[in-house]
Symmetry: C2
Subunit: 224 residues, 2 copies
DNA sequence: AGCCACCGGGTACGGTGTTCGCGAACGGCC
DNA sequence: GGCCGTTCGCGAACACCGTACCCGGTGGCT
């Protein structure tokens, strides 16, 4: 005892993008990581992340579940691939000179991607793994901030918080069910009378999209 | 076809706290929701969230898995109970008059709780359900902001973003493994030469705790 | 042409959440 | 005090999951 207290199988200390597809010798593979990733993304877009099981992804490709393990070491690897795959959807224009506007644009693009792939927030918020496409986005953010006087650590912190905020907001608007449940309970609590401020809350639907200004304020707060 | 396309079992539209424990008639229950929740929290603290299965929680209480369903409709219900349970750890002093300081204090307390229960970030970021203790915290936040001129929606938005940021930061510092994997890949990408800004990143460990000032900046950005 | 490394698929294992039917235990009522 | 209705605790069962393994077939290289 004492060597592997975990119940989950140990993953390689190296991200999947550093583990090359099997070497060239022998019979060549008839599928690719990209193909599998696309199938998984398609499935998640259609049926939700919970339905992305090895068996279903394999069925989507007309093969058996075990076969996927020729391309991927673990289901988590596949999830990492999915998360990075959709990062290719960013359209990264060269920095305009206005870092705030550029970063807000990145944030709004991120929200668009999260909306197109409602399973993404859960992935991004749960694991934080960077692949090739993610690296491109980070590079772009750093380029935008190249002339900014803040320390590198502060820049990365701001970027991390931006993604956290956007993903969290996207998750909230995707999981309307949770919101509804919570609203129902809060109404009950308010009716109880012990939470005056909660009860005084106006349910008014805010006009307009709060995210752009929120992002602007957060970013200018962090990177003054 | 067409009525229930979901594979997951449908949950009640009402949060568990509105579904009272079974009524008084008949044989009385020998356990309580609170007892089960505490067992689950204990287990998660010790072995991680992945080990919180119905069977293990039941074993922790010396009973069978099926028995838990007398108290809870779904495993997700149990997770909701866990998330709210630890919200009791907040120490909510009366508002001091300085809303910024008070909110930063709430954020730092939140981080403390997340650190004490490393499984919490995943829960908070993945679902957003408010129970009795969560309602108390929200009430406190609204009390702190009672005299603030911002609109209710903006206050709630700021509160939501504060929790998102704190949970995300806590998750990042708990899941050192992910960070390590990403760092390894980023080093590889930097060595490739196509990402100059990424390569120029100083790995310097920042001095001090960045969260207090970060929270202060974010909050004063949002609630100017 | 032959080799041999690899691929694809099937099967199997241990685990999961959840359902169901059963007998036993309790509180209230006659 | 005894019955009755209701609920409880339990264990077996179901469908599904991720993953390990083995085996026969297949293709590229020499």
């Amino acid at each position: 005892m004492g060597t592997e207290p975990e119940g989950t199988p140990p993953r390689a200390p190296v991200p999947i993008w550093l583990r090359p597809a099997r070497s060239g010798a022998g019979r060549p593979a008839s599928r690719s990581r990209a193909e599998i990733t696309e199938a998984a993304v398609r499935l998640a877009d259609r049926d939700g992340l919970a339905e992305v099981s090895m068996r279903r992804v394999a069925a989507e490709l007309g093969t058996g579940a075990g076969s996927l393990y020729r391309y991927v070491e673990t289901r988590d690897d596949l999830l990492d691939l999915m998360a990075d795959h959709v990062c290719a959807e960013y359209e990264l224009a060269p920095p305009s000179g206005d870092w705030l506007a550029d970063l807000v644009d990145v944030g709004l693009q991120a929200r668009g991607i999260h909306r197109r792939h409602p399973w993404l927030p859960e992935l991004v918020l749960t694991r934080a793994v960077v692949g090739p496409n993610g690296a491109d986005v980070t590079e772009h953010v750093l380029a935008v901030l190249a002339d900014h006087p803040a320390a590198d650590g502060d820049k990365m912190l701001a970027w991390a918080m931006l993604t956290a905020v956007v993903a969290s907001a996207a998750r909230a608007e995707a999981a309307r069910v949770d919101t509804e449940r919570s609203a129902r309970y809060l109404a009950h609590v308010a009716a109880q009378g012990r939470h005056p401020h909660l009860a005084a809350l106006r349910a008014g639907a805010a006009e307009g999209d709060p995210l752009p200004t929120a992002l602007r304020r957060i970013l200018s707060g962090l990177l003054g």
